[in-house]
Amino acid sequence: MSRVLMRGNEAIAEAAIRAGLKCYFCYPITPQGELVEYMARELPKRGGVFLQAESEVAAINMVYGAAAAGVRTMTSSSSPGISLKQEGISYLAGSRLPCVIVNMMRGGPGLGNIAPAQGDYFQATKGGGHGDYRLIVLAPSTVPEAAQLVMLAFDLADKYRVPAMILGDGMLGQMMEPVELPPPVDPSSIPEKPWALTGAEGREPNVILSFDLSPQGLREMNRVLQDTYREIERSEVRWEEVETADAEIVLVAYGTMGRIAKTVVERAREEGIKAGLLRPITLWPFPYEPLRELAERVPTILTVELSAGQMWEDVRLAVEGRAKTPFYGELGGVVPTPREILSEVKKHVSS
């Protein structure tokens, strides 16, 4: 297979098209502009609909409509735009509509800036919109992995009828790396969606709602959601471990920070520090169990994030005091270099 040099934004767009994307709705924002451009250029040629909506709110509600009609659908944006989509995301979750939402995070809060950041972790993994719901949240750390995880996101969303989010950042979106693109999905291999609104001729009408006035009825709807979430927690936790077998300090980092942390582990090992890395690939469901197991034998678990410590809360929930859990984060779109993280690592190991 030949490798192609692509930006993260472009690789995500191409992978989505290969996953059978039929309807893409967007409102442009930096740093994911190339994703929109790629879709505008490629999707109509390949049998899909590209539509630039009048706002983020319109775009996410178009996703609702397309998902209800049973086609593979997606929207993408960056932090402030994703905030605007939250009401629609809650409705999608409540109506059990599968879709893929891409968030290439930038600095926040508010208008923030366009530099890479990870300050939307809470929003992505803990809700964001109202109500008791979850998104499947996948955090690619490299351009090839972004392409893989987009394909997976569509499959998982369809399988569980849960919206899936690709949580990247500006750096992943803007950088280029060689990608071996996966072959296009055979449309006939995508499972049927008997619940979809496809025209009720010859069958009972399907109803898609996130609404039930009766508390008992809404409780039942919520129970279905919660049962689904428990099953996802059992079956879909994904993570990568690097050099953890004999580690005396394990870094926990995801996305862009996850790949930078790999370099830190390598350099630490060159200097005789037994460092390792646990990189969550699914942020929800979070790899609590693997971290808990590590915490039984590793004295220090250092969380490294481009936020004030959002994932750190999940790390501490997993570790539950079994190990020390220091934190190192950067804010506002500043990305620490491997050297800076390594000096942080050194503060926590006995020489």
């Binding site: 490798r3 040099l5 930096t30 740093p31 800036n113 366009i114 530099a115 500006g170 750096m171 803007q174 950088m175 280029m176 790396e177 060689p178 790949r259 930078i260 942390a261 790999k262 370099t263 830190v264 390598e266 350099r267 060159e270 990305v335 270099t337 491997p338 050297r339 800076e340």
Partner: protein, 192 residues
Amino acid sequence: MSEKKGDGAMEFGVIFAGFGGQGILLAGKILARAGMEQGLEVTWLPSYGPEMRGGTANCTVVLSRRMIGSPIVDAPQALVALNLPSLDRFEPQVAPQGAIVFNSSLIRRGVERPDVVGVAVPANDIAQELGNPRVLNMVALGALLAACRVVPLEAAMEAMAHELGERGRQGLVEINRRALELGFEEAQKQLG
């Protein structure tokens, strides 16, 4: 490619920097593509702030025989500086024994660090003599490849031809090929 122990063993990192419009991002992309076509792992990381619109631009390219962790490099083995602000900003970061290719058409000082190799290339003048001032980025890339043999000059020429071909600019391949050659030769003269 050269293998240095310590700061990123088996990895080569280079920062390209200059004014927006000097072809910094394209020069970096062509090196990255040449590396990829040689079977290496590569990353290309641009600065993408508002500075791209008329101010300074830079990109970091990493080439490696193995999977690349960080696309951010704190001590690059090489710097290509096409204007003075870029040399001022990035000279202190270059790894000891690294190389700095700088555009002596615009930069009126030499490299100050005693522990790096400086290569002065009058990139604007060479490009002007070739008849197209815009090929200065390929002059600089050619010089870089003479100073750091990370990919063969021919590989960069092929990657450039592929890149321009995809952009419908086949007509510019020949002059860019000459620019790469002249930059390479100029640096070779200085390096002896």
